[in-house]
Symmetry: C2
Subunit: 408 residues, 2 copies
């Protein structure tokens, strides 16, 4: 199948592109490298030293004989996107090409607006380009479990049947997203649902949980194929962040009580879920929603798992509770359905101590690249402007030393 | 009270600004005149010859002794908007400053994207400006009944209590908007709800029905204060359009079966609802939703009322059914609650034959300004690109004649 992976230079996108390529699909990556730019903006770097995309693709070709096409550009540019669709003629488009960090969207006005415009316009462009040029193409869109928030009822997969005053209807599940980023995904979902209705497009919205891990069989083949491992407060997902904290002996920072419960999945399941969605396309006019995660954990449960595994490895691991920088319930009911992908063949990699062990080991291996200042939350949901420090404390120390030298 | 009316040069905004000014409030209008620009773009004009805003405001001041402040600028420009908020220090902001036509948003890709970016960014800017500069200010936001779509259950005011698998929660009412414009209002609602939650802002979302009429006591005072009366397929609302059709003896164009049922209200109730909302602000952190309409009608019912009144006036009125250019149910269940504003004191002007009579009379008075080609729907929801004719058929005839003369 001809599959386009938009955002194929990112964390989930890169692993997905290789996985689909290795499965024999004809894959094209579309990316504008803005994710790498955000690292520079925030003064952070992935724990793992990732290579330039062109080098990654060359090595992949040498190792496997499989070529992944590369189209460099921004999908918010309709001319670029439509010329890509016209040229590659994808049968499925996997759309990861969005700003995906909640804290990034909450830094200030500019970041909130740029996140929503980037994500909403990119997805609108894609809907129009598919409609105009490739109307049978299956859109596989990455949504987020965060679209639902934490209602006091069971979370269904996209829709809920409501009985009310003696009548009944099946309607979109009510959304209570918790950041300007999560809101952008809710906006996307509504836009996509409408496009399926009026134009007969086929789309699958994958409401993904929090992803952990960095290793898949494909990225393991060579050091040059290594995937991102973000540990910072803005782009690092919580389990990866805890493993990095454990590796260098700083406390695991739990926001508030840690009772915040979410759906989680291993990145090896992310790539498999995408494949399942592509192999089982939605029908014409169908807007299908799958909840893409395998297990629920509270943040505190994850911290305790990392502490336990870390101590078995001989590390000293402490857990600190700090005031929650987000506005969210710190203890709540949470029961989200996630059976659709399993019915289509997903065999989950459940969170194991050996996986946590391997993640901590990766963090230990690259510990020199960790800047502990990057763990500390600097984006508070209650503020309209958050002043992030331009660099790290370590870098600031260096700058201070230089300044002192300069004064000599 | 110091009240800002964003979009105060438009149809509802102008009537609201005068009404609030006459009630003794200190009113400022913010507008960038883009609504007048869209008339030029579409080659249409309001049936009623509206004056430039500066002239309107001068006459208002002469007649009443009341000054309305004017700030010309675009609220998607954060610097402009924040300097306005800082300077005027409003206690309430009434936000009409959005692209409000469903067909306009469905013309093509560019109009869909510009509608969503304009509306979402304007509202995001406003949320941030209020949070940063005027945190107690009450946001009175115009939403639309079209956010709900036409579910097979009763429509509540913003929220619905759902019992599911033995548990219960009150959640945002599920949204099924029917155009890229209606979608933009759903995006706004989600963004505003979130801002109220994290920042403690106070907001009222007025999910307004379809407005009809053009006359209020205030705009009646002088010819120079006359309000818009849009009759074209893009910006004209359905009852006003039918009255214009009856006035010049062309058939009332009913889309499809005409069973499409919606909530409607008289523009005199629009202005009163806004006043009620301002006088009874939402609490800190409260995102309050009122359904702002007074009666439900199907499109065919309205056509039959106009036909009946027109015939009493001696006009010959026919009803034509044409294929529905929109994707919508042509017959459906519809029962939407609208008791909150009545509880706060709204005394509805229900649709009367005398009101329809007066609307038709206005259309007769200005019939020379009607271009019948502008009634015909040129925007089809099923197409991704709709080629609207640049001018009217009448203007095209003129152009043809000129071309012939030029060849002499």
């Amino acid at each position: 199948m001809k599959i386009a992976v938009l955002g194929g230079d990112g964390y989930c996108g890169w692993a997905t592109a290789l996985y689909l390529s290795n499965k024999g699909h004809s894959v094209a990556i579309v990316d504008n490298y803005v994710r790498r730019l955000w690292d520079h903006e925030l003064g952070v770097q992935t724990l793992t030293p990732i290579r330039p995309l062109s080098e990654r693709l060359t090595v992949w070709h040498q190792l496997t004989g499989k070529a992944i096409d590369l189209f460099v550009g921004d999908i918010t540019d309709y001319d670029f996107l439509s010329s890509f669709i016209r040229s590659f003629e994808p049968e499925a488009v996997v759309h990861f090409a969005e700003q995906r960090s909640a804290p990034y969207s909450m830094i200030d006005h500019k970041h909130a607006v740029s996140t929503q415009v980037n994500n909403v316009v990119g997805t609108l462009n894609l809907l129009f380009a598919i409609r105009e040029l490739q109307p049978d193409c299956h859109l596989v869109k990455l949504g987020t479990m965060g679209e639902y928030g934490t209602p006091n009822i069971d979370i269904e997969e996209g829709y809920i049947t409501i009985e009310h005053n003696g009548r009944k209807d099946t309607l979109p599940f009510p959304k209570q997203p918790g950041s300007f980023y999560h809101l952008s995904k809710v906006h996307d979902s509504h836009n996509i649902m409408f496009a399926c209705k009026i134009w007969g497009l086929r789309a699958t919205d994958l409401n993904q949980g929090v992803v952990y891990g960095t290793v898949t069989d494909d990225v393991m083949m060579d050091e040059a194929l290594i995937n991102r491992f973000d540990y910072d407060e803005v782009f690092g997902t919580v389990l990866n962040r805890f493993c990095a904290q454990a590796a260098i002996g700083v406390p695991l920072l739990v926001y508030g009580k840690g009772g915040q419960t979410r759906g989680f999945l291993d990145i090896r399941d992310t790539v498999r879920c995408i494949e399942i969605a592509c192999n089982n396309p939605a029908g014409g006019g169908e807007f299908r929603v799958f909840n893409q995660f395998t297990e629920q954990f509270s943040v505190l449960q994850l911290a305790e798992i990392v502490k336990s595994v870390g101590e078995q490895m001989g590390l000293q691991v402490e857990i600190d509770h700090i005031p929650d920088p987000r506005v969210e319930a710190e203890s709540h009911y949470y029961n989200a359905k996630h059976s659709s992908l399993v019915k289509l063949g997903l065999e989950p990699h459940l969170l194991s101590h050996s996986l946590v062990d391997s993640l901590i080991n990766i963090a230990v291996r690259y510990q020199d690249r960790i800047d502990p200042a990057m763990f500390e939350p600097q984006v508070n949901w209650r503020h309209a402007r958050n002043q992030r420090r331009a660099g790290s404390s370590r870098k600031q120390q260096l700058l201070t030393k230089e300044a002192v030298s300069g004064a000599d």
